[in-house]
């Protein structure tokens, strides 16, 4: 696997270097915006690496947690008077709690059944967000307050434009998220997850409480999705129920699978490709859903492991 090819430090180094150096090649400030979208998506997809790549479980409803994180940032400041940063934390805790409750029954299911059940959960969240119009503004969406960190930075002499700030802030969040996911990979918990992925019965016989560890992966990945949704809401300063929609869930899974759900770097690459394409190719923008379907099919047919691991294998194969 790619993971051993590039150890934890290498992965983080590559990631941090690309994030830091890329701005020097940006033709316009618009690319800071594209970059921060990549990082926000990359964060959600890194969470899916833990669920899909490590633990071998699928979810087609994780946008539901992104929705919870996003709307927490919109609603908690108004109704609870919370600072948006605290609202994001509240959203993450709420997502974790809901993932815990929802995950327990649905993670008993396998394969298609789990896919359909998680899909149901995502649809439920997006319907609640659409239908509770008095609270959420319904399909029209609602405004999200300013995070305010940029003003603080300015006061201490770091003057960033809005897009630059969000590029740096989401980039930092992504590196942090990747660091945690890579730590997990090489830890006892990560080994338990990968063991149950490899053989549930063997994992059980070495003492892994399979139901518990699946739930751990589900809750952690839900927190990633929630934080990703919060960051999206805060940088857009506006949010609609689409963030929790079915298409967003499918998009996340496609990004993970395209790059390689088994590898953090691969999944982030997948997020980068599928976030950038609609921005630079109008065809992709117009037919986004069709394109996602096509990408998914091609990956499944030609590179089951995903882009990065497949390429790595091929390079190694040639080297031998």
């Amino acid at each position: 696997m790619i993971m051993r090819l590039s150890s934890k430090a290498t992965t983080l180094l590559i990631l941090a270097a690309v994030i830091a150096i890329a701005p020097f090649f940006f033709p316009s400030s618009y690319y800071f915006r594209v970059g921060s979208l990549i990082f926000v998506n990359g964060l959600a997809v890194t969470g899916l690496v833990i669920l899909i790549g490590y633990a071998g479980q699928i979810s087609l409803g994780h946008a539901g947690f992104a929705g919870i994180g996003a709307y927490a940032c919109a609603l908690a400041p108004i109704h609870l008077g919370l600072h948006p940063a605290l609202a994001a934390i509240l959203g993450a805790l709420l997502s974790a709690a809901i993932a815990f409750l929802v995950g327990r029954p649905i993670l008993r299911l396998k394969g298609y059944y789990l896919a359909v059940a998680s899909l149901g959960f995502g649809i439920l969240v997006s319907m609640v967000l659409s239908n509770e119009a008095q609270l959420t503004g319904g399909p029209d969406g609602m405004a999200v307050p300013e995070l305010g960190l940029r003003a603080v930075l300015k006061a201490v002499g770091i003057d960033l434009s809005n897009t630059e700030f969000w590029y740096a802030f989401s980039g930092l969040a992504l590196v942090l998220g990747a660091w945690l996911a890579l730590n997990l990979y090489h830890s006892p918990t990560g080994r338990a997850l990968r063991a149950l992925h490899g053989s549930e019965v063997a994992a059980r016989t070495v003492g892994v409480d399979v139901a518990h560890y699946k739930l751990v992966a589900f809750v952690i990945s839900a927190i990633y999705a929630s934080v990703s949704g919060s960051l999206l809401a805060l940088q857009n300063k506006f949010i609609t129920p689409d963030v929790a929609g079915f298409m967003h869930s499918i998009e996340m899974v496609t990004m993970a699978v395209l790059g390689g759900a088994g590898s953090v770097l691969g999944a982030i690459l997948g997020a980068a490709i599928l976030t950038t394409l609609p921005q630079v190719l109008t065809v992709f923008q117009e037919y986004e859903q069709l394109m996602l379907g096509l990408v998914m099919m091609l990956v499944m047919i030609f590179m089951r492991e995903g882009l990065l691991p497949s390429v790595a294998h091929r390079i190694r194969g040639r080297g031998e």
């Binding site: 730590n183 090489h186 080994r191 053989s199 016989t205």
Partner: protein, 261 residues
């Protein structure tokens, strides 16, 4: 006193009585072999004892505690470990990681510490890695530690499963055909390893088709045929038992017929 006691264990698959009314017991450090023709119900018996299948009838008692129908991960905590006839390797993990994963019960701790790679988590990982390397050396896979597990031969994977099962530091170890796919030298090594482990006080329940090995290392043999226990006793007595000879010769005669036809 017996460490593991099996009483009247039975299970059906549809109309098939795969195992019926099987009972015997295992003392600490004892090697008990379960033999019988293909399809006799040996693996099914293992699956019931290790909690993979829920028996329809009977009881399993470990160290005085009724463990019947207890899930495998709870049995692991009580010191019951096993290997699989049809290998259950953690694919896409290295040989070392497979052995380290066997230390799960000794290395698990807070998820928070694992996520942030706190010193406690690293200490736990380090300890299980050291122990796993020692176990790999013990089964002769020390030099293959960094290899992808899927690259090993069948016989080597069998030994990797033994290392993984030993990582638990079990009191009872169930081995389902550990020497299958191994050459004569490897079989002898496994033979030694089993005797050594038993000498350390671990009780071993063994299923093995290599009769020479079974006769050599078993303290006690249980014979199954069509899910029923047809004989039990010391190796020498079993070798002379007419019902056992008939069950085996019968099976061989049928096999010969099948081969002819």
């Amino acid at each position: 006193m017996s460490l593991l006691q099996i009483e009247g264990l039975g299970i059906d698959f549809g109309g098939l009585r795969a195992v019926n009314d099987v009972g015997f017991s295992l003392k600490p450090g004892e090697i008990v072999s379960v033999i019988g023709p293909n399809g006799a119900g040996k693996t099914t018996l293992f699956n019931m004892i290790s909690g993979v299948y829920a028996p329809a009838r009977g009881r399993v008692v470990l160290n005085g505690e009724d463990i019947t129908r207890m899930p495998p991960h709870m049995l692991a905590r009580r010191g019951l470990s096993r290997t699989f006839q049809n290998l259950q390797i953690f694919q896409s993990m290295t040989v070392l990681e497979n052995a380290v994963a066997g230390h799960h019960l000794h290395e698990r701790g807070s998820v928070f510490a694992d996520l942030f790679s706190l010193p406690a988590a690293r200490r736990r990982s380090k300890a299980s890695e050291d122990s796993a390397r020692a176990l790999l050396d013990r089964v002769g896979l020390g030099r293959a530690a960094e290899q992808e597990a899927s690259s090993l031969s069948y016989g080597a994977l069998k030994r990797l499963e033994i290392a993984r099962a030993l990582a638990l530091k079990p009191r009872v170890l169930l081995l389902d055909e550990p020497a299958a796919g191994c050459n004569a030298v490897e079989t002898e090594e496994i033979d030694h390893l089993i005797a050594q482990v038993a000498a350390e006080g671990v009780s071993i329940l063994l299923v093995e088709h290599d009769m020479k090995m079974v006769m050599r290392i078993s303290n006690h043999i249980v014979v199954l045929d069509h899910g029923e226990k047809i004989a039990e006793g010391e190796p020498a007595a079993i070798a002379r038992n007419p019902r056992v000879i008939e069950a085996y010769l019968g099976a061989q005669a049928t096999e010969a017929q099948n081969a002819d036809g």
